[in-house]
């Protein structure tokens, strides 16, 4: 694999971007290393399966590399890249919806491994694990629209303007949709099975 270059590990994000923009394409490996976990978590939350998340990441990194020459290196690159990931993941989700109506990462559906298996952290005590399972189940029961906006806020930590850009909706809609998603999530925790409503 591309060996990590210690002299780049301490460079700022802006320095890394400038190196890539200046033609040092191998500096992009450092960018990938810095962003891959956050990007994976976001892609996985949206696509709800590993392989599609993997495809989304591959595609997103290539898109980012090709678009870097137009990126203003004075701006933080994290939100910019995560927006690319979100958009790519949403496209993937739409393709997935077209080809299959079946849920992807639903707990225990279609013979898939139980949720406990997928999120188990052996260091957790049973009570905390149960709580985490409840939350993950509640999240999984939300509508796609609510899951996506929560992923953008919770996993990507995007500001409202960034979420608006990623979803192509006004900031006001982000506010209301996010509020409804959070209410629905809390509601699901209290009343499992009640489906959160989408946009009116």
């Amino acid at each position: 694999m591309t060996p990590p270059r210690p002299d780049r590990a301490d460079l700022s994000d802006q320095d890394i971007v400038r190196l890539v923009q200046g033609g040092e394409s191998d500096a992009f490996a450092e960018f990938v290393r810095r962003t891959r976990r956050a990007a994976y978590r976001l892609a996985r939350r949206i696509t709800r399966n590993h392989e599609d998340a993997d495809d989304v990441l591959q595609e997103s990194f290539v898109k980012a590399y090709r678009a870097l020459d137009r990126f203003d290196s004075g701006k933080p690159i994290g939100p910019w890249f995560l927006t690319i990931v979100a958009r790519t993941a949403l496209s993937s989700l739409r393709r997935e919806r077209r080809r299959s109506a079946s849920p992807l990462d639903e707990p225990g559906q279609d013979g898939s491994p139980p949720l406990a298996e997928r999120i188990a952290d052996p260091s957790l005590d049973p009570g905390s694990l149960e709580r985490r399972l409840e939350i993950e189940r509640a999240y999984a029961r939300l509508s796609e629209e609510h899951r996506v906006i929560l992923a953008l806020r919770v996993e990507a930590d995007l500001p409202y303007a960034g979420i608006a850009e990623a979803l192509g909706i006004p900031v006001g809609t982000v506010m209301s949709r996010l509020a409804r998603a959070r209410e629905a999530l809390v509601e699901q925790m209290k009343e499992p099975g009640k489906v959160g409503s989408d946009e009116p």
């Binding site: 033609g23 810095r34 392989e51 701006k75």
Partner: protein, 369 residues
């Protein structure tokens, strides 16, 4: 009897929590929140739930991320490097520093905010505002809109653009010189030092989460979880292991919860009598029977090093199901799996089979490459 307090809308309440309200609205919302326990509880509850989501494990380990990096760099390596841009387009790091501060914004400091003086002032502000606006809100649990939380206010400033411009010099060389001796960090450490904006698990909501966890521990029954975990499939070989259990960064087993043992590629093909790599001799029936289990590996990332072989089988399964005249969605899907099998293959045989099957398939559907 005192009237019910007037609540902000949920939109404003959560925007306040997220640090997304303008300064004037924030004052109003904060004034309410400081005196309203139900609104504070709601914010804390949402914060705790989101902290839990954020703290869920990655489910994949460093080995996956290293393969990903390698694969991405192969792909971008075949691209021409982005055209160098003029120096005057580049700016200082101030924006990123501000962004870093935003990422580490603390949780709402209710205790401090709740000082008596603040609360009194807050009540006055709200009262004046409501009288002026003649706002009448009915039931108590229907909040109106509040503002961003105080700690998140710093985040608002994060977006402020830096006005400074980087000096026009060879920044690339300068950056290298500046940092040349400094870096000794490993790839793993660079992961944890993700971009300033990337989420850090369990950051600002940790206190609320701990509080909630303590409450949970008192009230919840652990038995169902233990039962579920105990029933988790144990089909994987001891060495094969599961994305979670085998992940290099997975934590050691502790307490009473056993590490689950999900299926591996090896166990799946053994169970369904399939050869390690698809070949013309494999019957359609066997492939379709194994498809759900293979799809499970696909979904959870359990295929690991055998991801390419799983893709190859899935392409064949979809091909069988699509019949002789697949629609455009099926064609895209099949071709995608073959292509990914080629790029992910760790052995020449899988890559070669996937390549020839892709070419044959494209010819079959009239899309000769």
């Amino acid at each position: 009897m005192s009237p019910e307090p007037l609540h902000p809308t949920r939109e404003d309440l959560f925007a306040y929590r997220d640090g997304e309200l303008s300064a004037d609205r924030r004052v109003l919302v904060e004034a309410h929140v400081l005196t309203c326990r139900s609104c504070r509880d709601l914010i804390d509850e949402v914060s705790a739930v989101e902290a839990s989501l954020r703290a869920s494990p990655d489910r994949v380990g460093d080995a996956y991320f290293d393969r990903l990096t390698e694969s991405v760099m192969r792909r971008v390596g075949s691209d021409a490097a982005p055209a160098p841009i003029p120096i005057d387009r580049r700016r200082s790091d101030a924006g990123a520093e501000a962004e870093g501060k935003r990422a580490h914004a603390p949780k709402l400091p209710w205790a401090i905010l709740l000082s008596a003086g603040s609360a009194m002032a807050a009540v006055l502000v709200v009262a004046v505002f409501l009288v002026r606006e003649r706002a009448v809100l009915p039931s108590a649990p229907q909040p109106i809109a509040l503002e961003r939380s105080a700690p998140d206010a710093a985040r608002l400033k994060a977006g402020a653009e830096s006005a400074s411009v980087a000096p026009a010099k060879d920044e690339r060389q300068a950056a290298l010189n500046r940092k040349q001796a400094a870096g000794k960090k490993t790839a793993a450490s660079t992961d944890s030092k993700a971009l300033a904006h990337a989420p850090a698990e369990g950051r600002r909501d940790q206190a609320a989460l701990q509080k909630m966890s303590a409450q949970q521990e008192l009230s919840e029954k652990p038995a169902p979880v233990k039962d579920r975990v105990a029933r988790a499939p144990a089909t994987g070989s001891a060495a094969g292991l599961a994305p979670l259990a085998a992940a290099p960064d997975a934590k050691a087993v502790g307490g009473n919860v056993a590490a689950p043992s999900p299926a591996t590629y090896e166990s799946v093909i053994h169970r369904y009598g399939l050869p390690p790599v698809w070949g013309p001799g494999v019957s359609d029936e066997m492939i379709l029977r194994a498809e759900p289990a293979l799809r499970n590996l696909y979904r959870v990332g359990g295929a690991s090093e055998d991801s390419a072989r799983v893709r190859l089988y899935l392409a064949e399964a979809i091909r069988i199901r699509a019949g002789s005249s697949p629609d455009s969605t099926a064609i895209d899907e099949i071709a995608k799996h073959y292509r990914r099998a080629i790029s992910l293959a760790r052995d020449p045989e899988t890559a070669s089979v996937a390549r020839s099957r892709l070419l044959e398939f494209l010819r079959e559907v009239g899309k000769t490459p």
